[in-house]
Symmetry: C2
Subunit: 68 residues, 2 copies
Amino acid sequence: MVERLANRIKERRTELGFTQAELAERVDVTRKTVNTVENGIFTPSATLAIKLARALELSVEQLFWLER
Amino acid sequence: MVERLANRIKERRTELGFTQAELAERVDVTRKTVNTVENGIFTPSATLAIKLARALELSVEQLFWLER
DNA sequence: CTTCAATGTAACGTAAAGGTTACATGTCAG
DNA sequence: CTGACATGTAACCTTTACGTTACATTGAAG
């Protein structure tokens, strides 16, 4: 069961006019963390997923989903 | 910003009549993982949070929330 | 009370999340 | 073209998620 976690962070972030650095500050992680999550390099914790969804005004399920 | 991730896994799991072992099998982790997440001993990955929410027929936000 | 299933939890190991710092590359306004 | 800001990414480190196994405790049914 090889599932990858896809997301629409970049799409939504740019819609709202945030840079990675601004989003990072809002959810209290580093810019690198936002960048790597956004690019699917690693899977965030549930805590971070909830914070990101809140900051981007989407539900966790709208922001992240399992593929494959 | 000391936030802990609270959840209603146990409440919902017993409502649906699952044991920890059954839920674990459905979301493809060990019983220990379900047990420790349920008891707040650790924060699950976003992937696991999404699978648990799906298995328990709730949204991630209904199943998990940030306290404090 | 006894038995058995369900749950809690401890020790230990591995893999991955996420931080820090630094630098390279993209991109766009002027 | 040039400078400034945004983004990608590499090296390295620490913490923690999650697995395995095993055992103790709880609780409900007979």
